[in-house]
Amino acid sequence: MSRTRDGDSQALRSQLHAFQSILALVIMTEYWSRLIQHWHEPDTFLVVSPVVITGLGVTSLTERWRRPAFLGIALVVGSFLAIVFPGGGNHEYLEFLLCLVCAGLDCEVPEERLLLRDSVRWMTGVILFWAGVQKLVHGFYFNGEYLAYSVSRETYASVFSWLLPAGELARLAALDGSAGTGPYVARDWLFSLVSNLTYILEIALAPLLLLRVTRRVALVGVFLLLLGIESAAREMFFFFVQFNMLLLFLDGDLNRRLIGPIAVLLASMLLVRMGVLPEVTFT
């Protein structure tokens, strides 16, 4: 019994190390991507931060310096949030918090690694739940208003082309969001259904994700939902941060085997930013 528990604990240790590696990779890529994007208007922080984060990210691979390295990354991300306040993205707050947790809790101590895993799981559920509640209380999903408004963005239009009649899609795509335009409502049952399902699923899946018996089904649901949302929104850094968190709901260390493919995808994003690969819209 104790051997099994120890084996599980070692698997969790490996899983958490992979989680931390992916987190560091995502943040590194994001800061390099930002530098490439704003290369024509560089400032000291913009140039120095990717170099520092890369150094810290590499350092975080060592057992001895992992936690100080994450504290360092948290300081850089925190500084960025302070500089751009109040314009920092939600995923940057999330990265900051995750780095703090990784800095504060030691993966080499069995009880701390459990606390680390459970904290990340709880954060995943909280974000999903409130994302749904926000959509519900602001009320722009009941008649598909938010999605109709978003059709003017090319990435949304391509996703919704299979949901809306061509005429309605063209009408919404032509609206520019200025005062007096509209109505931003699509009276199509399928469009309305998708719109309402978005927040219903977010709210419903969050507790199901946290319960052991429903976790696997909920995990598949959340992954598909996230994929659906990001196929239109293209907030790829948020996607990778959340995807990395979702992988901690699995029992094994599948995430270790995904480090390579994720690194390749992140590198591809940098190559897109550099203009080496064809342009793909993402933020």
Partner: protein
């Protein structure tokens, strides 16, 4: 730090993280703070306005009427851009004092300034874009 202390600290932080979006929703509803930012997880919940406009009015000492500032100096433009960015995400919580103070110090004959910001906002009832207007007056006391 002992594990017990660490656990208590982590649980307290998670409690704050769990409760904060509720406060965030209240700020959005009451002060026009953007749902998109500040870790309230309200991204994609409301349309994000594509543009924000600003007009500046001033009242000279002894005058009763406000006049519109027609040509803004470069220093004012930079301050305006910064204030618009704060207003974009903080709504009515964006403090105009610094920007207004700069305007008043640049023009000693001005007694008060009014900064009017407007942005397209989606009206839920009609589904139409309407213009939302917010007015800041400095100094705010009569």
């Amino acid at each position: 730090m002992s594990f017990k202390a660490k656990r208590a600290l982590v649980h307290f932080a998670l409690l704050l993280l769990t409760l904060w979006p509720g406060v965030h929703i209240w700020l959005v509803k009451s002060y026009g703070v953007s749902a998109w930012k500040l870790a309230g997880w309200g991204m994609y919940a409301v349309p994000r306005p594509k543009s924000i406009g600003m007009e500046i009015f001033y009242r000279q000492r002894g005058a009763t009427e406000y006049q519109r500032l027609r040509r803004a100096p470069e220093a004012v433009k930079a301050g305006a851009k910064n204030f618009i960015e704060h207003y974009r995400w903080l709504g009515l919580l964006a403090g105009p004092q610094d920007f207004a103070g700069k305007l008043l110090s640049m023009s000693p004959d001005w007694e008060r300034v009014q900064v009017v910001l407007f942005q397209p906002s989606l009206d839920r009832g009609s589904g139409m874009m309407v213009m939302r207007e917010d007015r800041f007056t400095e100094p705010s006391l009569p």
